[in-house]
């Protein structure tokens, strides 16, 4: 392998890791929701689309720098998730698995069609000066928005860890995840906690959407692809396992990039799915998952 090819390979892996970081961010939200309330949020990618379109709308209306949209998209995502859990999911009672699956699928359809009616089907870009700027690291060239996305992922996940392991709220969340009935008996308002967790999960998807916007065009059904990715990431790492989701995201990003680099771009989505199937066959609990019996 000559040096040009080595550089290209290193660059591919680095870009894969940064893209994987975004997958991790999306997967973390999904995994968090699943870990606490055993709901697989099939609208997850659509919440990401909301984040993208908030960024787009603010940019078109006020020329707002995409990254400032985080200040809007994250709280809006949280509020939306909180409300949806309270108004829709909490009412489904004990029939959680099927009912919540259908409910989140329906929500996803409502979201993507609302976006379609509001913004049209045409893919839309925003053009900021730094969209194509790069950093050179010894021949390896990395895009600034991609690096910002990677950093954003790190910060978000660190913040989540801080909340989960250093605060009272985090303790209540972990208690709810481990044993909702027990937590309720100890005075934790689990319904409230679940709404907060759903809000946090949705906020994570919205943040990922904002971070994606300078890199990618937005269109109403952009979420579909990312729901699948989030699902793969979560299963790779073990459902409900947060560090697993992070590693799962990075693994998926690198597998996709290397597959596209060495084999063909065209089967890009297939590489992740093959990894997904292999994990399901060999380690059904995920790379880092433990089989836990629920009480």
């Amino acid at each position: 392998m000559d040096s040009a090819q080595t550089t290209a390979l290193i660059q591919t892996v680095a870009q894969g890791l940064l893209t994987g970081g975004l997958y991790a961010l999306i997967g973390t939200g999904l995994s968090l929701i699943f870990g606490v309330m055993r709901v697989i949020n099939f609208a997850h990618g659509d919440f990401l689309a909301i984040g993208m379109f908030i960024t787009l709308a603010l940019f078109r209306a006020f020329d707002l720098d995409p990254y400032f949209s985080l200040l809007v998209a994250a709280p809006v995502g949280f509020a939306l998730g909180f409300l949806i859990q309270r108004v829709v999911l909490a009412r489904l009672g004990d029939r959680l698995s099927e009912a919540s699956m259908l409910a989140t699928l329906g929500l996803g359809l409502i979201i993507s069609n609302t976006l379609l009616l509001t913004f049209g089907a045409q893919p839309q870009n925003i053009n900021v000066a730094y969209a194509t700027q790069t950093v050179q690291l010894g021949g390896v060239q990395l895009s600034i928005p991609l690096i910002v996305a990677g950093l954003g992922t790190l910060v978000s996940i660190a913040a989540l860890n801080f909340v989960l392991y250093r605060t009272e709220l985090g303790r209540a969340i972990r208690a709810t995840a481990q044993n909702p009935l027990g937590a309720e008996l100890q005075g934790v308002k689990t319904a409230h906690i679940q709404a907060i967790v759903f809000g946090m999960g949705v906020a994570f998807a919205a943040i990922a959407g904002v971070l994606l916007m300078p890199l990618l065009y937005a269109f109403p059904t952009v979420g579909e692809n990312y729901t699948t990715k989030a699902f793969i990431v979560t299963v790779l790492g073990g459902l409900g396992n947060l560090p697993g989701a992070v590693v799962g995201g990075l693994v998926l990003g690198v597998i996709e990039s290397l597959g596209a680099f060495y084999v063909s771009n065209n089967y890009r989505d297939a590489y992740g799915l093959v990894a997904f199937l292999l994990v399901l066959l060999l380690r059904p609990e995920g790379l880092f998952g433990k089989t836990v019996k629920r009480v």
């Binding site: 660059q11 509001t118 839309q124 194509t132 596209a260 771009n265």
Partner: protein
């Protein structure tokens, strides 16, 4: 954000309104993408239709009657496009003008030929639409081979030894990329990479990394609107540096490409079917009229093609002397016209049938705007190279 849709709706309404008022009109059919992912092109075509219909009617209409265009929406979907064609056939129109996407047109053309309705293709350029073609299918725009040829001509003239191809898997992209393969062989240019991708791929970085390692002289990309922006942004990001980036029209030839890709669009050369700098009679005026119809936006070649399509259809009906489909077909066969889109005459050559032989133009983004660079017929500016 909603303006494109609203604009097209207004345009459509204006076209329809014309129909409500006029009595005893000559109706011809047209299909385009009023909605859906090709709506951007549909908007251009609707503007072209409008300018064309107005011009024909200003000059006295057809056979003493006003010309009326019955516009059907394909919603950027193959099946809805077929349904639109069916509605027009049932409405009894003598000729159907269509449209942008080769995947959609191919299905419609086959259906229309079976129904023995003359089909005037104005924009879609998949070779296989007129090769082998049918008695009922006529195309006024250039076939895909020409898109590849004009770019490869530039590569050859500048002594490029190697190139890479990145193309979508749609009918149009495939046609251009396949043609590029053949022409490259003919010109002695080595194709180092030929990467095809399915619609919806958004991360071209691994492929671009691969191409970067091979360092070809030229890169030919054939992609639709949003992909062209993503491709060029990521090409800059990855740092791949051929002597020339070239686009096979479609997304690369749109004003939006320059706007959305920003500095990443600089020095990109693209094939295009028509530009206002061409030296045909009336080209400047057409550009002004189209711009007005688009509310001040710059027209793309799709608008000029739609305009020419209306003129050709009207002329065919006039020559036929009535709206009988067979008579119109016969009239198209013997038609010779000079429009501000270019000369139009349907010929059989190189395996093409009823195909208008028309050369392509190449333009380059210089200083944030398209300038013509090829051929000599447009007074070309010198090409800027990346290295």
């Amino acid at each position: 954000m909603r303006t494109p849709t609203i604009q097209s709706a207004i345009l459509l309404a204006t076209l329809m309104l014309g129909s409500a008022q006029a009595q005893g009109t000559i109706k011809i059919g047209a299909i385009t993408s009023v909605t859906g992912r090709f709506a951007e092109f549909g908007k251009m075509q609707l503007a072209g239709f409008k300018v064309g219909v107005e011009e024909v009617n200003r000059k006295g209409g057809v056979l003493g009657k006003k010309l009326e265009l019955v516009v059907e929406d394909n919603a950027s979907d193959v099946n809805k496009g077929l349904a639109a064609a069916e509605r027009l056939v049932n409405a009894g129109v003598p000729i159907v003008i269509n449209e942008y996407s080769s995947s959609l047109v191919k299905a419609q053309a086959q259906y229309l030929a079976r129904q023995k309705v003359p089909n005037l293709v104005i924009t879609s350029s998949g070779d296989d639409i007129t090769k082998p073609g049918s008695d009922y299918i006529f195309r006024l725009n250039q076939p895909a081979t020409e898109y590849a040829r004009v770019i490869l001509n530039i590569f050859r003239d500048n002594k490029f030894k190697s190139m890479a191809v990145i193309a979508g898997t749609g009918a149009f992209e495939k046609s251009v990329a396949d043609a590029a393969q053949l022409i490259a062989k003919e010109y002695g240019i080595t194709i180092m990479e030929d990467q095809r991708y399915d619609k919806g791929l958004t991360d071209f970085r691994p492929v671009l990394n691969r191409i970067k390692a091979k360092n070809p002289d030229g890169i030919l990309m054939v992609s639709y609107a949003e992909d062209s922006v993503a491709l060029m942004r990521q090409a800059r990001e990855v740092g791949v540096k051929p002597r020339l980036f070239a686009g096979g029209a479609a997304g690369f030839a749109l004003p939006e490409f320059v706007k959305d890709a920003g500095s990443a669009a600089e020095s990109v050369v693209t094939a295009t079917a028509w530009i206002p700098q061409l030296r045909y009679a009336g080209t400047q005026k057409l550009n002004v009229d189209l711009k007005k119809a688009l509310g001040g936006a710059d027209p793309s070649y799709h608008a000029a093609q739609a305009y020419a399509g209306v003129l050709v259809a009207a002329e065919a009906v006039r020559k036929a002397g009535n709206t009988d489909r067979e008579a119109v077909k016969a009239a198209l066969n013997g038609l010779t016209m000079n429009t501000s889109f270019g000369p139009i005459q349907f010929k059989d050559f190189d395996g093409f049938r009823n195909q208008n032989p028309l050369a392509m133009v190449a333009q380059q983004v210089q200083g944030g705007a398209f300038v013509p660079v090829y051929p000599k017929a447009v007074i070309p500016k010198p090409i800027k190279f990346e290295r």
